[in-house]
Symmetry: C4
Subunit: 195 residues, 4 copies
């Protein structure tokens, strides 16, 4: 029950969050490409947030695929995750407009951290609901990648007070870790699923 | 017939309403977390409205699950509910920006009241369409929670002229009543459904 | 083929168009309900457009229900209809902000007219694609209501140069004609469908 | 697996991108139709982008129809395509507001070029995933239309520095090539599919 609508709401919010961030990129004042240069932080922030939302959508997609039973806790855990993801356009815009000032960069990291915590809660709720023979539990394992990510979001957020650029490097590195080898892992783990 | 599209439209509007409210939260003027402090009423309003929209989405989800027949009245009752829910970003933004002035807080309560009336009409229309052996009628019972909520939205809206903070407390209390024990009730009532 | 995605795109655009119009309703300057009074034309415009979009969604819903075959012409006729419906937030906002000036009211009527023409083309394309035994052809009949509506949108648009209030009365009257007896007609015509 | 959600995300983003572009068309300052005249470049840009997004949606629709297996590469190739399409409202608005200045027109062409490259990658990924007997490979053939389009987007973007009007003519011509005969080709190629 309800898996379809849970997925539909998630897909809807992700689609809107992605496109709302573009709304924050107001047309530049001038009519030359030079006018785009001051927008570099805004554009970079958009790209990074787009990658993160793509990662969440992809992982949510696999996670729900192996979810057969939907409970009220899962519905609320999903809404909780959507709450944090819905704040990403706000933190993205602030970080970009502030040209990577320390505190907006820290807040961006905090929202990433909270999103990953919310994702972890949703994952846990789904595993509990599926019972002992949960395919998700097997696929996720100890989820060291998820746990280390949370730690590094926190480190990234704190480091912004020393150097926001360091924070950005950490945020991008975590995104790359999820982006690149995930395809390989998914393919091997869920060979029967994707092929 | 049409249940899928009715759900799709509802999910679409809820997804957009949630994320549109974030658009109202413009980037703060400064680049420090202090700049977020004056935004506290805006952020609190967003959180409250997010919870309400989550409650409506969850309840709509259960209600439609036990709805087997869709009539023209149900389609229009659903659109009527969407009309009031679509006004929530407007009243949320006004309430937040006014820093909880009496009249915006009252209007927020009126829109919550009208939403719950619209939900009640939709519920009634679905029960009528399903006929005597309606599972929804059995699940909902006398719906004292729905009826008392309407009364308290009205009380909350009126009290805003004495103290808006009292109104907010009432609005939050109603949300909590729907949020917390609902999971328990749903689980017991619809044991066969969610498990 | 493709009916699901055609419906999904339509539902998505309708959901967004409805909620985008609320974005046009910026928070009033003051913090009292008096501040809402100057917004009356904006609010009225929103309500009227919401009703029209609800009518289109409902009718599209029935029309696609009796559509079994989807062709490239149908996909493009559907996109063409979405083009005109997507302009409704623009004309709604301009009409409301101009406090019902003649020319914005005329333009609003022209967009309604073009939407109904686009709907009629889509209807025709679906009937052609379904072949002789088209259920839609039977249900729609000569579609005098659709044809007269087009005429009255045109009359309404032209009358705005004499009195915009007359135009608004005509637009509302057409909406009421579609809204009220349609339920009765649908029920009798498609008894097997909705019940 | 996942085809439904891939389609849902795509449909969601296209629906939002279409309607977000309308948000860029702010209500004109005056209350007469003359006030629309200075908006002509904005309106033309919207129409052209709407047609392009319609073409992408239509082609994506056919392509996914003949896609039976979804892999992680396909999910990411789809997100990559959505990234470039999500930038269209930004380049559309800038091009319109600049009244077709050289560099915004060039950037518009670059985003069209990158979108077509992303579409080509997605097409390739789907063909690879389906294996030897891919129906898509048969339907697409050598895809000379796709390859020539990329070349002409590039030519269009470069020509904007000589005359932006020439670029616009090329962009419109490519759109027409995709729009008009595509229906005929699709009908003959996929006779069993659409009929």
């Amino acid at each position: 029950m309800g898996k379809n609508r849970l997925e539909a709401l998630f897909d809807g919010v992700i689609a809107i969050v992605i496109t709302i961030m573009v709304l924050e990129m107001r047309s530049p004042a001038g009519h030359s490409l030079d006018a785009l240069l001051p927008m570099a932080p805004v554009i970079f922030s958009y790209v990074m947030s787009f990658i993160y939302l793509g990662i969440y959508w992809n992982n949510h997609h696999y996670m729900l695929y192996v979810c057969d039973k939907v409970t009220a806790s899962i519905l609320w855990a999903n809404l909780h995750l959507l709450f944090w993801l819905s704040l990403i356009p706000f933190t993205t815009a602030w970080m970009g407009e502030s040209r990577f000032s320390a505190q907006p960069v820290a807040l961006y990291g905090v929202v990433l951290l909270m999103s990953s915590v919310a994702y972890w809660i949703l994952e846990y709720r789904i595993i509990v609901a599926q019972g002992e023979q949960s395919r998700l539990k097997y696929a996720v394992g100890t989820d060291w990648k998820g746990r280390l990510s949370m730690l590094f979001y926190l480190i990234g957020a704190l480091l912004s007070f020393i150097s926001p650029w360091l924070s950005l490097a950490i945020y991008m590195a975590i995104a790359m870790v999820w982006l690149i080898p995930d395809q390989r892992i998914e393919r091997s783990l869920k060979h029967d699923v994707t092929r």
